[in-house]
């Protein structure tokens, strides 16, 4: 390279992509998934669920201030956050499973970036026309028509973006109340700022950045690539069938040509702007639209479908020799996917089990260790415990606090003006009470170093109980 030559550019402008409209099996599937996922996202906060007078009636609610997570009949307290951790691990394992079996199927069908970009492209196509019209409009100078189309498109995008940001905040507060507050400008600032930020990101990511988000911002493409192997089904081109490609079917030597007529249909529909015939690429989100596009063309020229198809690398050698690819179940059912499924199911079963065995009384006992014990005038030894009782139900409850131990101990609950050793815990709240346990000087517990005991709380009406083991410190 000559010294005086200008250095190559280190930064490249985005190449605009104008995906063409396509029809087919996978496109239809993607429309359905888009409809369902968008409906779930927008409508979920509006589902009502009656929990009685003391609890919110929103089916799915993340109550940050009250530190509760409501999901239909399930209510998660902060100390049960392991449910959320478990769900996240399941989501991770689910992603491993799908990626090792079907490649970047999450990216291609269900990722919000894909779904919203798809929606934005739909709007774009509806307003500015299909690929050719959009290319023309892009190349044309600014005119009243171009301005009108652009402004219309941006306006619709903006409305979608705002609805997206707007729907998000409804998960964190009572949706109808918040909606009313939002329009009367009584909603908290954080609601408006969240909507503002999410509106901006949706508008920019869906409208302008699109595949750039996947290529430069998202870590998943790299991570997922590491989870795929040669048996993974992914979108690929049967080059042994398609090559050598050629347009001129009636020219001399056309009988040596493969099935690919180089019509560029697969390239024109690609939202990532790549040519799948170049092989697997980092940019490919496996949306499968090129399969639909190619199948359409193959049907028209009277060739079998599947020149571009879900393929596994391991089948390439056999297919090149003219053999049939292995059936799909052999690709999907492998030790690796079975292991992922087993782990996924195990955690799922464990979570469901934990959900069903959890008690609606939850107590913790924290022995006061500073000091470990107090000597009273008559020589008795007193230990103090901080007792926390969580009433996980929607009704106020009264509990009696008791202890069991092999040694003689007396319990004294600090709660003034009530039945001795009874505590009242309001619905959906945590009560903290100080509990004294006293050993008389002549009893063994006062002299020995530690004595095992168990503190119990028992619902006065239902006799439901919960107990926690702890120790009593004596003078020994």
């Amino acid at each position: 390279m000559p010294q005086d030559a200008a250095p190559p550019p280190l930064y490249a402008p985005r190449e605009p992509i104008f995906p063409r409209r396509v029809k087919g099996t996978f496109r239809t599937l993607k429309w359905w998934i888009m409809g369902v996922t968008l409906a779930i996202y927008y409508l979920t906060p509006w589902i009502r669920w009656d929990r009685g007078p003391n609890l919110p009636d929103q089916a799915v609610l993340i109550d940050m201030a009250g530190r509760r997570f409501y999901f239909f009949w399930i209510e998660i307290w902060p100390h049960e956050f392991y449910f959320v951790a478990g769900l996240l691990i399941m989501a991770g394992l689910g992603l491993f499973l799908f990626t090792s079996a079907l490649g970047r199927v999450w990216c291609g069908y269900a990722c919000p970036q894909t779904v919203w970009t798809d929606l934005f492209i739909l709007v774009e196509r509806w307003i500015e026309g299909d690929r050719n019209a959009r290319v023309r409009l892009w190349n044309a100078g600014w005119s009243a028509r171009k301005l009108r189309l652009r402004v219309t498109k941006w306006a619709v995008w903006f409305v979608i973006a705002m609805a997206t940001g707007g729907a998000w905040v409804f998960y964190f507060a009572d949706a109808p109340t918040l909606a009313r507050d939002l329009v009367t400008f009584d909603a908290p600032l954080v609601a408006y700022s969240t909507i503002l930020v999410l509106t901006a990101t949706t508008f920019v990511f869906g409208g302008f950045m699109r595949e750039q988000v996947c290529n430069y911002m998202c870590p998943w493409p790299r991570i997922q690539a590491a989870m795929m192997d040669e048996s993974t089904l992914t979108v690929a081109y049967r080059h042994w069938r398609g090559e050598p490609r050629g347009k001129h079917r009636k020219a001399e030597g056309a009988d040596k040509l493969g099935d690919c007529i180089d019509c560029m249909a697969c390239v024109n529909v690609c939202p990532a702007g790549i040519d799948i015939r170049d092989g697997q690429q980092m940019e490919c989100i496996t949306c499968a639209l090129c399969i639909d596009a190619c199948d359409e063309v193959m049907a028209r020229i009277g060739k079998p479908r599947g020149l571009i198809d879900y393929l596994a690398l391991s089948d390439e050698a056999a297919e090149t020799q003219g053999a049939q690819p292995r059936p799909i179940w052999q690709h999907v059912l492998r030790p690796r996917t079975v292991l992922y499924t087993a782990m996924w199911a195990l955690i799922g079963v464990a979570l469901v089990y934990a959900l069903f065995i959890r008690s609606d009384i939850d107590m913790t006992v924290e022995p006061v260790r500073n000091p470990q014990f107090v000597t009273l005038s008559d020589g008795s030894v007193r230990n103090t415990y901080t007792l926390r009782i969580r009433n996980l139900t929607a009704e106020d409850r009264e509990f009696r606090v008791m202890l069991t131990s092999d040694e003689i101990l007396r319990i004294d609950v600090e709660a003034e003006g009530r039945v001795p050793n009874h505590v009242a815990v309001p619905a959906n709240e945590t009560l903290q009470a100080r509990v004294y346990v006293i050993a008389r000087p002549q009893d063994a517990a006062a002299a020995q170093a530690t004595t095992d005991l168990r503190l119990w709380v028992e619902d006065v009406e239902t006799d439901d109980r919960a107990g926690v083991a702890t120790i009593f410190n004596g003078k020994g």
């Binding site: 190559p8 000091p371 020589g379």
Partner: protein, 287 residues
């Protein structure tokens, strides 16, 4: 770019940089990335001018906006004080004996009293209020000068045996080493051991009883039950401020004890005194 230096293996052009025959491929970043980078540089410059940033010899530049974390903390403290002003004022003028436990002022006092105790009292009485040798345990049911709210408040306000507050609680035990013979002290110790139900020499204790009647009962009571007005400890229980064994009792009687507590009336605000009183009273021994 007529002279593109294309790498043959990947078909990508190179940056032209070469180290020992290894060339750097050029995979250009998107341009919006570059502009974002420039944007952060510009933001950084503006930020360091607007906010405290550049270190100088003794301090750092203050920044044009005049922002200071210290001032912010002071503001927040003032804001919290203002927020609590009403309840604190109510507590300062309240009669503690009639203040209901579910009164906000009561709850505020117990919570705030814990902080007052941690700042001013825990050095001697321990962070858990369990005391130490010579410093009373505040958790138990034994009080030298009284354990009801009024008595605790008085002790906190005026202190014990200090020269600062004229109203401080005051009493003084004589050093009996100057008054009694060693054998007499030993006999008295045996009687005190008997009073508190510990192992003792019954013969010596009999002599000690006579000495106790003469020398000690005026303050500690006929049966060693103590007299609170004088801060004279009860000797017939299981709680000892300095220790109830033979050796420590001998030391106490020979040389006497003189525990001092400073008065907090001048150092704490009215609401702080009431708060720490409420806190102490609910620790488990309040009367």
């Amino acid at each position: 770019m007529a002279d593109k230096d294309i790498d043959q293996v990947t078909g990508t052009d190179t940056t032209g940089h070469e180290w020992d025959g290894i060339k750097e491929l050029n995979n250009p970043l998107p341009r919006w990335w570059l502009w974002t980078f420039y944007g952060t540089v510009a933001w950084g410059l503006v930020y360091t001018v607007a906010f405290p940033a550049w270190p100088l010899v003794n301090s750092a530049t203050a920044g044009l906006l005049g922002y200071s974390t210290r001032a912010e903390v002071a503001e927040q403290i003032a804001a919290v004080d203002a927020q609590n002003a009403q309840v604190a004022g109510r507590l300062a003028t309240a009669d503690l004996a009639t203040l209901a436990p579910d009164d906000p002022a009561h709850r505020y006092g117990v919570a705030g009293g814990a902080s007052v105790f941690a700042s001013h009292c825990s050095q001697c009485h321990g962070s858990g209020a369990a005391g130490a040798k010579g410093y009373p345990n505040l958790l138990d049911d034994d009080w030298l000068w009284g354990g009801d709210l009024e008595a605790i408040e008085y002790t906190v306000r005026h202190g014990i045996r200090n020269e600062v507050d004229a109203d401080a609680r005051w009493s003084e035990m004589p050093a009996f080493g100057e008054i009694l013979e060693d054998a007499e002290i030993a006999a008295t110790v045996e009687y005190v051991l008997q009073l508190s139900g510990q192992d003792h020499d019954a013969g010596l204790a009999g002599q000690g009883a006579v000495l106790f009647e003469e020398q000690c009962s005026a303050c500690h009571g006929e049966a060693g039950e103590g007299i609170r007005d004088l801060g004279a400890p009860r000797l017939s229980d299981a709680i000892w401020l300095y220790g109830g064994d033979r050796e420590t009792l001998t030391q106490t009687i020979t040389y006497s004890r003189f525990g001092v507590m400073p008065p907090w009336g001048a150092r704490l605000d009215e609401d702080e005194i009431k708060a720490v009183t409420l806190y102490l009273h609910q620790l488990g021994g309040g009367e």
